[in-house]
Symmetry: C2
Subunit: 214 residues, 2 copies
Amino acid sequence: MSAARTSHPRTRIQAKRRGRILEAALDVFSTHGFRGATIDQIAEAADMSKPNLLYYFRSKEAIHHELIQRLLDDWLQPLRDLDPAGDPMSELRAYIRRKIEMSRDFPREGRLFTNEILQGAPHTLGMLRDVLKPLVDEKVKVIEGWMKAGHIVRTDPYHLIFSLWATTQHYADFDVQVRAVLGPERDGEGRFEDAARFLEQLYLDGLAPRQGGK
Amino acid sequence: MSAARTSHPRTRIQAKRRGRILEAALDVFSTHGFRGATIDQIAEAADMSKPNLLYYFRSKEAIHHELIQRLLDDWLQPLRDLDPAGDPMSELRAYIRRKIEMSRDFPREGRLFTNEILQGAPHTLGMLRDVLKPLVDEKVKVIEGWMKAGHIVRTDPYHLIFSLWATTQHYADFDVQVRAVLGPERDGEGRFEDAARFLEQLYLDGLAPRQGGK
DNA sequence: GTCTATAATGCGATAGAC
DNA sequence: GTCTATCGCATTATAGAC
């Protein structure tokens, strides 16, 4: 069969090999960026020859494109899960927990996106407008609802979301720096738990309605 | 004279040309990363030929190295300026303001560092340990002093600093995303002022000592 | 489907004239 | 100091045998 290069492989064996390539590509793209990554590196990581890899994907760009598309949905799931009917403080706490867990368990995915955005989102700008912005706009309305109901203090909901993204994503993107600063004496997975606790305190205290109520 | 390649050019004309190269290189490295940048691009941006550029710098890596070294000091200045004798809330507010202004006025410098850290700090790891960590350790002690004196709530000072870095740096690194989400209707330099106000509110309210005491 | 070989281009760096 | 020309290697992608 000669349909290996389509996005929808017909056979199980093709799906499996494409999956192995994507897994290897995630490794390489996330640490070297798109241009810094080479097909050779990806092929070696996927344990196959370069021409063989290019039998499954038309080009380096095609691999990157499919990777971005597949991962964006997962990446936004915590924000999608923000429940308008839930208790605001519990929802925020759950969101922070989920995002910190993702930085701990899937740092490569985060770095892939950061690399992409940092370089001006050349392959992703359309998705930012068509997928990301509508979702954020929707959740901003949820947050504004909580503010009007007096459950959390009034503030700029867009910048609140940016701030949540930035603080949680930091532990994936700047992992090297975080570990260098914490030093060997505090090295270990505990930093993620410490981060979650700190961020819960910061956001939950910072957003709790004031007693005096303005 | 044949000393153009040393780090300390003797003549004014050499310093000027090297400066023009570094300015162009900042542009290119900050948007494409080290490996994504080409000497051709830098040379064109500096309006000189590639061999001419390589007369002033031994190699692509030498340009990058000097850029990182020159900028790190500026980059850490706001943290250095954190005054143990100052009012904690005013010091934090000033720090946030300074960092947001830097993201607005010097976004390329921020992206240069983020690119570098994201890729595992291959050229910078030593500086993180020798320069960054000692400075952070020193300022952590300052913050701990404020906590013990009851001026701000007790929390993890390392993660507080990470959080401040992440939230302020976000507006340089993720500028494309921020603008895509805010949309054309909120596009304009106002986003930096909005960000500063939001962050002041978050941190100052979140860190203010509770009325009931601990 | 997978391989070896190689085409085609991009890129860092140098040679050598002026 | 600056240029044109070019070397040498890396890298993307393809050709064609098996």
